[in-house]
């Protein structure tokens, strides 16, 4: 919510709402007297220079009245929304606090009310509460409340499932305290967003009530009342009705736009921009000739976010056909962002720059967009930790796989489906034809991950990027997926970039290991040297702190004190320095990644 996006809708909404607030404060002070001045000489006039919107049956200037009526209209809408919101939040929160029976009763009532048309509910309440502003406000409040109640219930239910609520319950914290202390503060943001939107709605609804004669009664007047008065004359002098109508419309639009924009800003975290366009930085001269055999060649890859956040810092990586390279490092070291940058998937507002970013012999940033998409679509297969994120839950598995072939390879639907079944069989999903006709949720976790791999195999992948593909799976399934990945690499000759924070898995699967720390590569070594030949203190500590089936149980495990610097505060020198036992004054300068032995490079001043 802190940074509003500067979209036209956002700006328009903010401006309109600001204007309305100013009008509500200043309007009656400036035009108050004029709006009340009765002029028997100027009754029921149309547009004129003195009265741009005409006058009413007592000769009062309608423009002034419209400008003055803003305060009452907004104030009533605000009160109505607050009443509705308070009642709604209480109703919505009650089921979490009440005993089960009573809770069910409240939930049932709310469900019934939500299904009831809002305007009817408002009019019904207004008629009972009595004609006039008070009745209308209560009526609108009653109409707004069920929506809030439902929203509170849904949000509270999702937070109530959180572990920290379970913990609080186990600690014996009372239900009421859990609600006020843990649940409500954590759902406040969406509720406030809903409030802004509800305010726009209440404004329109109140105007509607006044227009129907159920709301504000003379001598008070709000926009709805002015509209009601002017409506009878709309054919003779349309201006008298247009003024209040325009005011209502502008205010309603303003609040709705602002609400939408706020909501989008709050949920912006995951909007992929698709085109966090890459820029070539250093001249090609310093980079040397591109490697003609490499499937993937990345030089000086950097990913930055606004605010000096640089999670990937000058990373270079080359992968040959048939090679499985493991990318290991702790959480937040930039592994996933490296993968995203290669696939052109860095989310907005991230910026990618690289000296070179070549896939299958072509620099992806120099290709025309359509060709780039085709290259990525057919040559690159991505497998993520959560297979559900890669599969559309609403579509059948076979159809999703087939889509790859119809879109990128122009296959007919029947051919594409047949190939999908063939690929599912290839990754050893039992009864592939049946499974192809099922939805993702009908498959087990391991099967879903196989289906995602099969999706990558619909084309002829040259590079497979697998980001923690087995982290959500248990060991036995993990082993099968690893075996499958290795077979696929062997038979297609594709290159694989395998990302994991689990150094044991990397050690088992990969040919070569690349170790990342705070956005940089600190060591690159053949897998055979991982267990006892690592040269960087961080890699060595990682290996030492890993318990295996032979670890001596009588000794404490090794661990690294401290934590990795966040991507905004990575020091200029060696990022590992404040956790490193060997650190010296020299380490304030950045150690370059230099050859150590054959096929082994390390970035550490102490590695000799």
């Amino acid at each position: 919510m802190r940074h509003l996006p500067r979209t036209p809708a956002g700006i328009a909404g903010t401006l309109l709402v600001a204007l309305m607030v100013i009008l509500a404060i200043a309007g009656p002070l400036i035009w108050g007297a004029e709006a009340e001045r009765i002029d028997s000489a100027a009754i029921l006039q149309g547009t004129s220079a003195a009265h741009p919107l005409g006058t009413d049956n007592l000769g009062r200037d309608i423009l002034a009245r419209v400008l003055v009526a803003g305060r009452l209209s907004l104030a009533l809408a605000m009160i109505a929304t607050l009443i509705g919101a308070t009642a709604g939040v209480i109703l919505g929160a009650l089921p979490s606090v009440l005993p089960r029976r009573a809770a069910r009763l409240v939930t049932g009532t709310v469900n019934a009310l939500v299904a009831f048309p809002g305007l009817l509910l408002a009019m019904f309440t207004a008629v009972i509460a009595g004609l006039g502003a008070r009745g209308a406000v209560l009526g609108i409040g009653a109409a707004v409340a069920p929506g809030f109640a439902r929203l509170t219930q849904t949000l509270a239910a999702s937070v109530a499932g959180a572990d920290y609520v379970a913990v609080a319950r186990m600690l014996g914290v009372s239900r009421w305290r859990v609600m006020t202390r843990h649940v409500l503060p954590n759902i406040a943001e969406p509720l406030i967003l809903h409030l802004t939107q509800a305010l726009g709605g209440a404004l329109l609804a109140l105007a509607g009530m006044s227009f129907l004669g159920l709301g504000v009664q003379p001598p008070s007047f709000d926009w709805g009342r002015l509209l009601f008065d002017g409506f009878a004359r709309i054919y003779a002098t349309p201006a008298v009705a247009l003024g209040p109508a325009a005011a209502i419309a502008l205010a309603g639009i303003g609040f709705n736009l602002l609400g939408d924009v706020l909501a989008r800003a709050a949920s912006r975290r995951a909007t992929p921009a698709g085109a966090a366009a890459g820029r070539a930085v250093p001249e090609a001269g310093e980079l040397g000739e591109p490697d003609p055999d490499a499937v993937l060649e990345v030089r000086d890859l950097t990913v930055t976010f606004p605010g000096g956040v640089t999670p990937v810092r000058g990373l270079s990586l080359t992968i040959a056909p048939g090679e499985i390279v493991g990318l290991v490092g702790e959480s937040g070291s930039g592994k996933s962002l490296t993968a995203s940058a290669i696939g052109g998937l860095v989310p907005y507002p991230g910026e990618v720059s690289a000296g070179r970013l070549r896939l299958c012999g072509a620099d992806v940033r120099e290709l025309p967009e359509a060709e780039c998409r085709r290259l990525l679509g057919t040559s690159l297969a991505m497998v993520f930790q959560d297979p559900m994120a890669a599969l559309n839950p609403a579509l059948k598995v076979g159809g999703q796989l087939a889509e790859v072939a119809t879109v990128h390879q122009g296959a007919s639907r029947a051919d594409a489906f047949a190939r999908a079944v063939d690929r599912l069989e290839h990754v050893r999903i039992p009864e592939p034809a049946t499974r192809a006709r099922q939805h993702p949720h009908e498959l087990s976790g391991g099967m879903r991950q196989r289906a995602v791999i099969a999706m990558g195999l619909m084309g002829a992948p040259r590079l497979i990027i697998a980001d923690e593909p087995t982290t959500a799976l248990d060991v036995t399934v993990q082993r099968e997926i690893l075996r499958l990945l290795r077979e696929v690499t062997d038979e297609t000759g594709a290159a694989t970039l395998f990302i994991s924070h689990d150094i044991a898995v990397i050690g088992e699967l990969c040919h070569r290991v690349v170790v990342m720390y705070a956005g940089r590569v600190v060591e690159e070594l053949p897998v055979e040297e991982l267990a006892s030949g690592a040269a960087h203190p961080y890699t060595r500590a990682l290996v030492a702190s890993l318990p295996d089936m032979e670890t001596d149980r009588s000794l404490p495990l090794a661990s690294i004190p401290g934590r990795q610097p966040s991507p905004a505060e990575v020091p200029d020198g060696c990022a590992f320095a404040d956790r490193c036992e060997l650190a010296s004054a020299k380490c304030a300068e950045l150690p370059p990644l230099i050859p150590y032995r054959a096929g082994h490079r390390v970035a550490c001043w102490e590695a000799k």
């Binding site: 920290y164 913990v167 495990l557």
Partner: protein
């Protein structure tokens, strides 16, 4: 304490099927099995978070505490570390501060961390806060459900060392759940293996790991990834 014939059903599905498991005083019992085998459901039943049939004997249910996999979701993001740890303490206000400090020291965290928010801590530090909070109610049994799975190897060691020192220093009984056999082997005195809701094997750690009797246990041992085995 002992868990006797514990069964949990969700509709027609039996998540935990007639499990009997003894947790000797002051011992760490490791529970392994694949995801969906019912480990977490068993833990939640013993903690009183899901209804079950059968019995949990020899322990007051209010003195069972649980620590979860992801410390970020098990700590309220809007409460300071100190407030989170103090929340479960049944002590007069004046004594709380001192107790919070004692608990943080017990899990090897600097006392100054009490002022910070969970997002300002590393994963390992957060997990130690969660453990400190659970220790605050002086539990008779601590259930640790995959507490190192979301941690980096570089900090996992510190949490595992803490678990073992807690057993030695305050004689804490523990049910330690993990899918990682190497981790379970390192901390546990006794290992129990669960498969499809049932307990298929149980015995002293070295025996189960060294000479598994059950086929499923053998396949689990087979699947443990080993550095540079290729």
């Amino acid at each position: 304490m002992i868990i006797k014939n514990l069964t949990v059903r969700f509709g027609a599905f039996t998540a935990v099927d007639d499990v009997t498991l003894e947790i000797p005083d002051g011992a760490i019992v490791g529970l392994v099995g694949e995801s969906g085998s019912g480990k977490s459901t068993l833990a939640r039943a013993v903690s009183g978070l899901v209804p079950y049939t059968g019995a949990v004997e020899g322990v007051d249910p209010s003195r069972v505490q649980m620590v979860f996999q992801d410390p970020l979701t098990s700590l309220d993001p809007r409460m300071t570390v100190g407030a989170s740890v103090a929340e479960g303490l049944r002590l007069p206000r004046a004594a709380r501060q001192a107790e919070v400090e004692r608990l943080l020291t017990l899990v090897s965290l600097p006392v100054s961390l009490a002022e910070r928010y969970p997002r300002e801590l590393s994963g390992g530090q957060r997990q130690r806060v969660a453990i400190a909070r659970a220790l605050g109610v002086r539990p008779a049994l601590l259930i640790a459900d995959e507490i190192t799975s979301a941690l980096d190897v570089s900090v996992q060691g510190a949490v595992l060392n803490l678990i073992r020192s807690l057993r030695e220093e305050i004689g804490l009984s523990m049910l330690f759940i993990s899918h990682n056999l190497a981790v379970v082997r390192y901390v546990s005195d006794v290992v129990a293996v669960m498969h499809r809701g049932r307990l298929v094997e149980m015995g002293p750690t070295e025996e189960v790991v060294g000479a598994p009797a059950d086929d499923y246990t053998r396949s689990l041992l087979e699947a443990v990834p080993r550095l540079g085995r290729s």
